[in-house]
């Protein structure tokens, strides 16, 4: 019925009428799903664990709201994201949720905008055509671990950084760590490594760390390893343990606090801290944001941050 209205009266009218009917139904104590909203979630990155949690959080909230959700994974193909956006716009969904850099899918965003269909980003990035992007504050997360490292090593020593600048959300983390370490005159970043992530990043990070340990044999010559995400931190941990240098007090931090990282942190070894994004919270908040847009609200703050938590041995086991 909603779609029939849309065809005859155009998007805005249909939306208003539908919202009004939904409100009536709600006040009458009836469930709303008779007018289920259709939302498409499109991402090239569904195979990545973080993305799955976003989508789980989103679909859980969408179920509560009684929506029909179509999750579309283009398996790494960004141009296909544009194509699938065109398709769901043609199909006539009520909203589109993306998990990809909006700068790369401008054509798809334009198609949705022309059809009056709102697009919400789930840790995607900002764009004038994205009504709102729901994400963690990457700068704040990187600051948490970079400052943890700096204070933990007393503001002096050699630090190894693992970064990944090709991926914008990880790139901003590196920027902050650069700034924090640069602000300590006695901290020297001796290497800024971009590991090969084809196999997840652990193996290559381990190999690169092994080479660095071999090049810096003196105990204490490496004070800390700051990694922009957990896999390089885990790789570095393996290298340090394999080299028999676990007792030198090299401090390792990651970001994301994946299960393997939490385990390592809880074990109380060199891997001391990570930051947990609230992926499910981002997914749920994205759904709430879609609801706000469907209710006709104009969202002023285009980036909606969901807080992240520092994970250390104190709370690694407890948290999740």
């Amino acid at each position: 019925m909603g779609r029939a209205l849309k065809r005859h009266h155009g998007e805005t009218d249909a939306m208003t009428i539908r919202t009004a009917i939904t409100a009536l139904a709600t006040t009458a104590g009836l469930a709303a799903p008779a007018l289920a909203q259709e939302v498409a979630v499109i991402t090239p990155y569904l195979a990545q664990p973080g993305t799955q949690f976003y989508v789980d959080g989103f679909t859980a909230r969408a179920d509560e709201l009684g929506w029909e959700v179509n999750v579309i994974d283009t398996a790494g193909d960004v141009a296909a994201v544009i194509s699938r956006m065109e398709d769901v716009v043609t199909q006539g969904v009520d909203a589109v949720v993306i998990n990809v850099d909006p700068a790369q899918i401008g054509a798809g965003l334009q198609t949705a905008a022309d059809a009056g269909i709102p697009v919400v980003g789930m840790d995607a990035g900002s764009d004038p055509l994205v009504a709102a992007n729901v994400t963690s504050n990457g700068y704040a997360m990187a600051a948490e671990t970079a400052v943890y490292v700096a204070s933990r090593i007393g503001g002096e020593g050699n630090v190894v950084m693992f970064t990944f600048d090709p991926f914008p959300p990880v790139q901003v983390r590196g920027v902050i760590a650069d700034a924090v370490f640069g602000n300590f005159p006695d901290i020297e970043v001796i290497d800024r490594i971009t590991p090969d992530v084809a196999d997840g990043g652990i193996a290559d990070s381990r190999a690169q760390m092994e080479a660095l340990l071999a090049a810096n044999p003196e105990p204490g010559s490496i004070a800390a390893v700051w990694a922009a995400w957990d896999q390089p931190a885990l790789g570095a941990l393996q290298a340090i343990e394999a080299a028999g240098r676990a007792d030198e007090g090299i401090v390792i931090t990651g970001i994301d606090a994946n299960p393997q990282a939490r385990e390592a942190i809880a074990a109380g070894g060199n891997f001391e801290a990570s930051v947990a994004q609230d992926f499910e919270g981002i997914g749920r908040t994205a759904a709430d944001t879609v609801q706000r847009l469907l209710d006709g609200e104009e969202i002023v703050q285009k980036v909606i941050y969901v807080p992240a938590n520092l994970i250390t041995a104190a709370n690694a086991a407890a948290a999740e």
């Binding site: 283009t74 296909a80 194509s83 043609t90 790369q104 899918i105």
Partner: protein, 323 residues
């Protein structure tokens, strides 16, 4: 009977796919806007598959086209960051494609390495070069000239539907021109007929005095150039370039050619049949998405349909031989 299945089974299958979506998506599938969308969505694949047809005509194939597409995209984007003009960057990137294709041809025809091995190796080489050139980064935003990204979004306006302009996408036009050129080369020149002769029987072609080495070498130039062009189209569509973005084109392009081969009488690759194969793959993606079929189920279905079509055609061919 088998001959009929072989001759028209593929075609009937393709029409069935289109009819299936037309029935299930009566209001959206066969609309001008959706058909134009599909034409744009498959434009890059069309270019790769059409030029892939040129080497597959000889019984060869080129596994390096996907990474060449990625490489061409990042080469152009890197030149953009160095303030080269769009024309110069595109020319350089197409030149890289041509050189890569000729190198493949050299390895296959002069050195005599199996195309599978030679182009598997250059796949890795081109991919590595793409990472080297781009430093592993995605090049996007202000580094990409406005006009370059705008090209893929634009095109001649055909009219207006629902107060929204109906545009014939530029990418569709590019793909159409490439198909036309490849068709002219393969079907209307003695060069093309010689390639088919090599595909029919390489030794016989050589004994008949055809310069087989030179012909095979030059044919690979088409795939290199086509891959580079597709990489540029991809980069324009996403207004950015990263060192892996074209990689997915290779397998789909080969699948499209095989799918097309089920349509031709003698089971040979023909560029118009390839185009039909591309369209079927594009239609499946478009239609199944609109029908909200899970994207993983969609992949399984697409693979199964390729197997079904090619399998049917293989059975038909066997029947022909027996009969």
């Amino acid at each position: 009977m088998m001959q009929m299945a072989r001759r028209f089974g593929g075609l009937a299958g393709m029409l069935a796919v289109i009819a299936f979506f037309a029935i299930n998506l009566p209001e959206t599938f066969l609309t001008p806007r959706n058909l134009l969308n599909i034409s744009q969505q498959v434009s890059m694949l069309t270019v790769v598959a059409a030029t892939m047809t040129v080497v597959m005509v000889m019984g060869d194939f080129d596994l390096s086209v996907g990474s060449m597409a990625s490489l061409a995209g990042v080469v152009a984007a890197m030149l953009f960051t160095r303030d080269f003009s769009i024309g110069a960057a595109l020319a350089a990137s197409l030149a890289v494609g041509l050189a890569g294709g000729l190198f493949n041809g050299l390895m296959v025809s002069v050195v005599g390495i199996l195309p599978f091995v030679a182009t598997l190796a250059t796949l890795t080489v081109f991919s590595g070069l793409a990472f080297l050139v781009s430093d592993g980064r995605t090049i996007f935003g202000r580094d990409i000239p406005e006009a370059f990204g705008a090209f893929a979004r634009g095109g001649p306006v055909l009219g207006s539907v629902d107060e929204r302009a109906l545009v014939l996408p530029n990418l569709t036009l590019v793909a159409a021109v490439v198909v036309l050129l490849v068709w002219l080369v393969l079907e209307q020149t003695s060069y093309g007929r010689r390639l088919y002769a090599i595909g029919g029987n390489r030794d016989a072609a050589r004994l008949a005095g055809l310069p087989v080495v030179g012909l095979r070498l030059s044919a690979f130039a088409f795939t290199g150039l086509g891959a580079a062009l597709a990489g540029l189209m991809y980069a324009s569509r996403v207004a950015s370039a990263n060192p892996t973005q074209g990689d997915g084109l290779m397998l789909t392009a080969i699948a499209a050619v095989f799918l097309g081969m089920t349509l031709t009488r003698d089971g040979q690759p023909r560029v118009l049949a390839t185009l039909a194969g591309v369209v079927v793959l594009g239609v499946l993606d478009n239609g199944l998405t609109q029908m909200r079929v899970d994207s993983y189920v969609r992949e399984v279905l697409v693979g199964a349909i390729i197997l079904f079509a090619v399998g049917l055609s293989a059975l038909g061919r066997r029947g022909l031989r027996r009969g």
